[in-house]
Chain length 293, copies 2
Amino acid sequence: MNTPLFLGIDGGGTKCRARLRDSAGNLLGEGAGGPSNLRLDPDLVWNSILTACREALGHAGLPESEVRTVHAGMGAAGAGQKSAVERLLSRPHPFASFAIATDAHTAWLGAFNGGDGAILILGTGSCGYGGAGGQCRYVGGWGFEISDEGSGAAMGRELLRRCVWAHDGRIPSTPLSGALLAEFDNDLEVLVDWIGNARPGDYARYAPLVLEYASRRDPLGIALVEDSAAGATRIAMRLLELGAPALCLFGGLAEPLRPWMPPPVQQAIVPPAADALDGAILLGRSAASRRQP
Amino acid sequence: MNTPLFLGIDGGGTKCRARLRDSAGNLLGEGAGGPSNLRLDPDLVWNSILTACREALGHAGLPESEVRTVHAGMGAAGAGQKSAVERLLSRPHPFASFAIATDAHTAWLGAFNGGDGAILILGTGSCGYGGAGGQCRYVGGWGFEISDEGSGAAMGRELLRRCVWAHDGRIPSTPLSGALLAEFDNDLEVLVDWIGNARPGDYARYAPLVLEYASRRDPLGIALVEDSAAGATRIAMRLLELGAPALCLFGGLAEPLRPWMPPPVQQAIVPPAADALDGAILLGRSAASRRQP
């Protein structure tokens, strides 16, 4: 009988990553596949997962048939939606076992090895998760429209709003508002046409511009980064209040926003023990050990 | 030769209203038709306009053939978009003359009879317009995503955002947050599903709930109404700064928000001289007089 293998999977909207370890924790191989946000078609998601898995097995010099000995754990965007998880699990899979959780949960598992602590993802969207004593909770993470404080999408959208104010004369113009409005020919009709088709990722692409101007002391840039950091801080404060002794930040805005947060919050920030892929391996291992005690 | 008739038309997303006066200003009749936001199909919009016109002529006891003597003026939602106006004007019309402007412009024409002053619409959306010396400008009015300060949609969306905070424990719960979350079974997944299909009008339907709880001194309700009034005030302040000596408020939130605005702004508020339909008649009359001097 083969010794078990452990596969961690990180599933997002643009790609799916996988990492294979043996039972001693040695790295055997890694692989990647296509989109695997659980809101997508389940056959597409399984195809992305199995592509990434086959690549990791190949990388490890193992035959595809070894998939039967693999205990897989997956952290996936969209896994907070029960119906999406049920849709995925309605399809057969070739693994010895398969466990799934949200990408926030596997990031937290990796960061704190399943112990007390909290994570705060500050990317295109934002989400807080964690706690103490085995009790984890979400803080934020409910989407662009009503729950994206500290995210790049929120920063970009608020930039556009304030630039409308500057265009109207409600607030003074700054070099940042001038640069942004020039991109739209100083014509709010052009801006409104753009808004009509904008997705959160489109708004988030303005976050680097805001950070750049803030670093040059542009008053609007500073106000926007302060607002983002304040929103992220409110999430962080609640996570710490829930008993998390430490906080790990993830996402493209984590490093830029960290120095803008209040020192008592900054002092709680620690580097993660491991990444979300190793968190997914931990998820798969503990699910397998519960199955075969 | 018949004496000219003057028709004012107010075109919105759900209906089209029309009012007929003779050249002495006597009221002859009124009528209504279907949707006539200019973003809709131009044949549908013309059908709505002509339905409202025929009803007004009938109400006045005049034959349909009299439409040829009618100088029409229309204020329409969507008329800020040049391409939408061109699409409408690409179709032939039966009037002696036809002039079109935004619904904000005809509301302003009616309110100040074309003189110095500004209007502020606080409805599902919000929009400021006006000025002095014949120079009118828009302040706000660029849509739900980035420019809806003081509107019902913005108030409703911010309510939902703060209720997520209350659910997370980021802010204290209040009777208002409790009542709102109970509507969604205290389950943010249910709320997020609702958000997925929500239009500005859906958010705006929560504005009365906010106002009701604010009147009972609910802390969250008071904070939300204060924020809305502050957003409306920033638009009003800019309009007054542009030289408007007085301000008329329109829309369902005008009366509820007025007492929350700073007294120096409240003191600038006056009742409108006439409504948007009479503003549209004025638009049609002045366009006709420019054609036939």
